[in-house]
Assembly symmetry: C2
Homo-oligomer: 254 residues x 2
DNA sequence: TCAAAAGTGTTTCCCATACACCCATGC
DNA sequence: GCATGGGTGTATGGGAAACACTTTTGA
């Protein structure tokens, strides 16, 4: 792709060098990230920032940032943004959806490519980025009005979020719930992917699905889906620290 | 969303009115569309256009066009583009993925939001749009080197396609194959959604999955998945035109 | 001894797959 | 009568779900 120009005719090179990219009015492009984690109380939660500038100043939002054209890919914009907010690199980001209505940002037409990140709470170092006064984890909860977010006594309803971020988060949760059944997403949320017990994994599934699962059935499907396919290895060790029967430790491969 | 400005402070209004969207270099944004159909010979095929201008002049590509910022959403850009190439409106478009590497287009950084459209061949009026000299349907075929495209005696290999369109098409096919198992996508490819036989539907599944299916099992899963859930209705009529046992006709609801 | 997590065994039902077979029609 | 597509019945096997049960530990 990089050396396309090397095989060009003079005529085409001339075209490329004089190409005017301003023929069409261009939108701004941002990436926003829905960062999920499992908190100390085994609840599914996500990172919200409090906007420090206009628009939606003071409102809560998911972190995001502008793509700098020519300098980085949209994936790289998302990675950079994730690092700024959490101090994390080499986290697997999954592209969720692209939002592009002209009026979704009051400043100008902003096309937002949204990513989902799954990060283990233990590695999280939350910091407020450039445009934020605060950054916090919120539990994902439900009541009759649907989704809301909770940190201690602070409650945030869908309507309190900036831009169309409530829609974005709802889509991200829906997708996460679906993906958990056929992708290995849950492993990304483990404190330690190379040494975990079946019940630690089960708790993650329960948090995401928001219901309790049958122990016997969970372990059977764990053995079938992961152990027998070689994606998970039995370490042959046990976790003996807790006040209960020692549990077998497993390791997630790649 | 539209009346955000009505609830603003003077200070914020001032900010919005003087907002400079040129702080960051902006990429161009396009939508490209992978248009699938089932041809006369019951083969899965897609629409390719032959590029009339630089870059990749003369190469085959999927149709696409630039988003005009402020005037339309990315969905609308895709709808407009689909209409220009096929004369079709009100076709369901599914967003596939967004591609955003800086060098994927030699002109400038182009972020492309790719959509998939499933259209019945009978309604297709193929026309070459602005930037194309030709537009044709190509069968999707496989050999040892993987994917290629075929129209009569014309063969196009992955390497012959413009930009990163080979990657895009491969992803679109993969996604279509997956979706067919849990979404009602196949119905969109029927000649007539409100009057079809089980075997017409079966042929579409076979084309997409690229293998033959068991008759008895297909009808059982059809009854379970669609008829009993009310998404498909038995018309109580039969198709009697062909030289064989008359087949029951069904209607897809919504 | 008891709570709580860790782990086992069994039964039931649904669904995917395979396959053998019959039916109606036009040529 | 026969090719072709239309349509039925049955058997097998695996997985999801429900549930009853045992084991091990620290407090």
């Amino acid at each position: 792709m990089k050396d396309y120009r090397k095989n060009c005719s003079k005529e085409e090179l001339e075209y490329l060098n004089t190409y005017d990219s301003g023929k069409y009015e261009k939108p701004s492009v941002t990436t926003d990230i829905v960062i999920f984690t499992i908190d100390e109380e085994d609840d599914l939660s996500l990172l919200l920032i409090r906007r420090g500038g206009y628009p939606y100043k003071g409102s809560w939002a998911i972190p995001g940032g502008f793509l700098e054209a020519g300098k980085e890919s949209i994936d790289e914009t998302a990675e950079r943004e994730l690092f700024e907010e959490t101090g994390l690199k080499n986290i697997h980001l999954t592209q969720l959806y692209t939002f592009g209505k002209p009026d979704r940002d009051p400043r100008t037409h902003v096309v937002s490519v949204v990513y989902t990140a799954l990060v283990p709470k233990t590695q999280l170092q939350i910091r407020a980025g450039d445009d934020a006064t605060e950054a916090k984890l919120f539990k994902i909860k439900y009541d009759i009005d649907g989704l809301y977010f909770k940190n201690g006594s602070v409650m945030i309803s869908k309507g309190d979020l900036a831009f169309d971020h409530a829609d974005i988060i709802e889509l991200a949760i829906k997708r996460l719930r679906n993906r958990i059944d056929y992708e290995a997403d849950a492993f990304a949320l483990l404190k330690d992917r190379s040494s975990f017990t079946i019940y630690e994994l089960k708790r993650i599934y329960e948090s995401i699905k928001n219901r309790s699962l049958d122990t016997a059935n969970f372990r059977k499907s764990f053995f079938r889906s992961y152990l027998s396919s070689g994606r998970v290895r039995d370490r042959g060790e046990k976790r003996e620290d807790a006040g209960r029967k020692p549990a077998e430790l497993y390791e997630f491969i790649a």
